[in-house]
């Protein structure tokens, strides 16, 4: 293995292996498809497990049937969704080694630890206690049974934290130093890796967005039932809707606030990404905020045909001062060339610029939707057609926003796979493009088929509505009624 080092950056060269360009592109598509698909499901599971845990708690406290039915109805939706999240998550654990072996060799000393800890601390907790929750209805004491769903929720939180710490290290590689002789980055402080400020921001931003994603599903489905079947299960869905609206409003607002400070933080640690988010070509002291820019969004020569701007707002957003200086793409490109050598250090602007706006726009939509819903409920009005369709669209808004956010954060880091240390082109496995074609097509077809199955099943459950409160099938030694398990 030959290692080239320039300015602290490492390029791994294997003289015997020429990696075809196709392989790199296909490996990128494969990672994007499998990861985005996985992350459509994960936020729903995180959010719903929180809502279901709260519903279950409310049932144990009040003993009211409606909360039991809510727990079991939304719990079944959670289980269907969780299964596909678990299934597609298996790929995540192994695909770094499969298609990104050179990346794995370079980062393993640091990146592997949070992944292993995620498995040990989070996956065991989630899977074991989800099994206990599903099957424990007829044998666990009531309060212990309640604790199992909270353990699942804690598991999802831990999982989110450790995987985001791993990703944050790719964005801001702290607690590590490159060892040119070994050709890899090596750990200097696990504490710094696990308390990376980028990870803390990402956790706050992602987890609140996940709660909003689960809430949006509850809002959309409940509104649809209330509008469509006015008299059937009115109480059930009215209560569900209120829960969904409250949770989503709080979570969406928190996502927006954390996101703002996250963006300010990234302006200091990943200025190129944020300049690309705004398509800001030149460094400016009173930078305007671009709302919509039309044109090629090309890097060089800079070209924007039309650009609707708010004067000086970007400076304020990024630096808390209307006169603050915001670095532009051209200056950063020149600086990076000086530091890392010749190359193109500007990410694909059309993707960063638009994914950033789509994410923010849909986040605002969700906050507005839940605020409007609460306002409508407060005035005691029935759910109308317009709100219903806005709420059904609202189911998809956070899913698209979550994906756009990840596209932004990952594409915005390019050409780096580990910011400033390793380029994506140097991380791919030395595989033939034919190999990648086979796996890419396999995963895509499989995932498409599973999407059809999951949607069919989910729509059946959602459209069918809640079941009657189950009849107790016995009494525990402590006198609690035992209920049938949730599956099998």
């Amino acid at each position: 293995m030959r290692v080239l080092v320039s300015e602290g950056r490492v390029t791994i060269k294997r003289p015997s292996l020429e990696i075809p360009v196709d392989t790199l592109e296909l490996a990128r598509w494969q990672f994007a498809i499998t990861t985005i698909y996985h992350f459509l499901l994960v936020p729903i599971s995180i959010g719903l497990s929180g809502f279901v845990a709260l519903m279950h708690t409310q049932w144990v406290r009040s003993g009211e049937d409606r909360y039991l039915r809510m727990t079991r109805f939304w719990g079944k939706v959670l289980l269907i969704n969780f299964a596909l999240g678990v299934a597609t998550g298996i790929v995540q654990e192994f695909q770094f080694g499969m298609a990104w072996s050179e990346y794995s060799r370079f980062v393993g000393d640091i990146f592997g630890a949070p992944l292993a800890i995620e498995g040990l601390a989070a996956f065991f907790l989630e899977s074991t206690f989800l099994g206990l929750w599903m099957f424990g209805w007829d044998r666990l004491p009531r309060r212990i049974h309640l604790a199992t769903i909270w353990a699942v929720f804690v598991g999802t939180m831990l999982s989110a934290y450790f995987i985001l710490a791993a990703n944050a290290w790719m964005q801001r590689p702290v607690g590590a130093a490159v060892n040119p002789k070994a050709g890899r980055a090596e750990l200097t402080s696990i504490g710094e890796v696990l308390t990376n400020k980028t990870a803390l921001f990402a956790f706050g931003h992602t987890v609140t967005a996940a709660v909003a994603t689960g809430g949006a599903l509850i809002i959309g489905v409940s509104a649809w039932h209330l509008w469509r079947n006015r008299d059937r299960e009115h109480d059930f869905f009215a209560v569900s809707l209120r829960w969904g609206l409250r949770g989503t409003l709080v979570a969406a607002l928190a996502t927006i606030v954390v996101g703002h400070f996250f963006a300010q933080w990234m302006t200091t640690v990943q200025p190129m990404k944020m300049a690309a988010a705004e398509a800001l070509y030149e460094t400016q002291d009173r930078a305007p905020l671009s709302l919509f820019a039309f044109g090629g969004l090309e890097k060089s020569p800079a070209r924007l045909d039309a650009n609707i701007e708010v004067p000086r707002l970007l400076s304020f957003m990024a630096t808390d001062s209307f006169d603050g200086r915001v670095q532009g793409l051209n200056d950063l490109q020149a600086e990076y060339e000086r530091r890392y050598g010749p190359g193109d250090y500007v990410p694909i602007l059309a993707i960063t610029y638009w994914s950033f706006r789509i994410m923010i726009g849909l986040g605002l939509y969700l906050a507005a939707l839940s605020a409007a819903g609460l306002w409508l409920l407060r005035r005691g009005r029935a759910v109308g057609k317009w709100f219903t369709w806005a709420a059904v669209a609202g189911i998809f808004a956070p899913l698209v926003a979550n994906s756009a956010g990840w596209m932004f954060t990952e594409v915005g880091r390019q050409p780096w796979v580990v910011q400033g240390l390793l380029k994506t082109t140097d991380g791919v496995s030395p595989l033939s493009s034919g190999t990648l074609w086979v796996s890419l097509i396999t995963f895509t077809l499989l995932y498409a088929a599973l999407a059809v199955v999951e949607l069919w099943l989910l729509l059946g459950v959602l459209r069918g509505g809640p079941e009657p409160a189950p009849e107790p099938i016995g009494t525990s030694s402590s006198g609690d009624p035992l209920l049938p398990s949730l599956a099998y």
């Binding site: 003993g63 499969m98 000393d109 992944l115 907790l125 099994g131 496995s429 396999t442 499989l446 949730l486």
Partner: protein
């Protein structure tokens, strides 16, 4: 024993946990149509692993993550090298999760039959391929000097490695039959016991052949490897009297010990390499060359030392909670969610 060796042993332990636990899940899946002639009998068979299979599978994810953290070169070489084998395992495991979880979420004969077939196939395929993969790691596959796999998928299939696959299939089937016998009642239990009795002889022959072949081909025959083989052999032989005496719990424990013994045999033979090369001498990937830094291994050791007892405690508790046999009737029987719909609420749970 330094930290690198300790982590090599821990990876072995994680795979041991994975194969012992998911081994019986695979076995139950493979034998679904053998022990269950009707959809309801197959449902009862699946229910024996229902609450625990997902937690069992996490052992694999943790083993993969720990490999990445402790031996990045091993992780990178193995999974990029055995690409198609791993792809097939992943596809099977994905479909299996969905099959197990979705089978009973809709009530339809065709729906359930399709997933039952899916469970059978996706239990057999990874069992076979894990056997093939481990036989390749230990028996040698083409690696170049950089620790990069230099063969194709077909290079992974040789008589020795195929025997490894067969051993995994048979051992897991026997293990699964023992679990079914232990955890079910009535006709499912009877068939499981009969199947286990029939599987015993071929399993003993295959495991013995594989163990001898492994030791005969080993670069160095280590005492630990021989001990692993001896444990596996003794455990398997002791299975027979336990089966005859109807001691289902003992039979199950013995197949668990046999799988553990086989894993010890493989890892001890592999030591001090993590992957044996069939190419030029000196191209083996060694523990030292594959390992992370001392600092990373220390951090991982602290985390593992703290977390593992907790995990074992609550996983053990789960098995205790679900220790009762899955019965044909009884109060905890709910065929599908639709059965719940059919029941009339009689007052529901009372407030506490």
């Amino acid at each position: 024993m330094d930290l690198q060796d300790l982590w090599f042993a821990l990876i072995g332990l994680l795979f041991c946990g994975y194969l012992v636990l998911e081994g019986f899940d695979f076995g139950v899946g493979m034998l679904l149509y053998v022990v269950g002639r009707s959809p309801d009998e197959r449902r009862r068979a699946i229910k024996t692993i229902g609450p625990v299979w997902d937690g069992n599978e996490v052992w694999l994810l943790v083993a993969g993550g720990a490999m990445f953290a402790a031996f990045p070169e091993w992780y990178a070489t193995l999974f990029s090298g055995y690409y198609f084998a791993l792809l097939a395992i992943l596809v099977a495991l994905i479909v299996r999760v969905i099959a197990l979880e979705y089978r009973n979420k809709h009530d339809g004969a065709r729906w359930q039959r399709r997933w039952d077939i899916g469970i059978t196939v996706t239990s057999a395929v990874p069992a076979l391929l894990w056997g093939v993969a481990f036989a390749n790691i230990v028996g040698g596959s083409p690696l170049d000097g950089d620790g990069v796999y230099a063969g194709t998928f077909w290079d992974l299939l040789r008589p020795y490695t195929l025997l490894g696959g067969l051993v995994a299939l048979l051992l897991f089937a026997l293990h699964g039959a023992h679990l079914l016998a232990l955890r079910s009642e009535g006709v499912v239990r009877e068939r499981a016991n009969r199947t286990a009795a029939r599987l015993w002889a071929p399993t003993v022959v295959a495991v013995a052949g594989f163990a001898v072949w492994t030791l005969a081909d080993a670069q160095v025959v280590r005492a630990v490897a021989v001990a692993g083989a001896a444990v596996a052999a003794a455990a398997l032989i002791a299975v027979l009297p336990m089966q005859r005496a109807g001691r289902e719990g003992w039979a199950f424990a013995l197949t668990a010990a046999a799988i553990a013994g086989a894993v010890v045999l493989l890892f001890a033979t592999l030591f001090p390499n993590v992957m044996v090369s069939s190419g030029a001498p000196g191209t083996d990937l060694t523990i030292a060359a594959a390992a992370s830094t001392h600092r990373t291994l220390v951090a991982m050791t602290v985390v593992a030392g703290f977390m593992t007892p907790i995990v074992l405690l609550y996983q053990g508790w789960t098995y205790w909670v679900f220790r009762a046999r899955v019965s044909a009737g009884g109060p905890d029987e709910v065929g599908t969610p639709l059965d719940v719909l059919g029941r009339r609420p009689a007052g529901g749970p009372q407030g506490s």
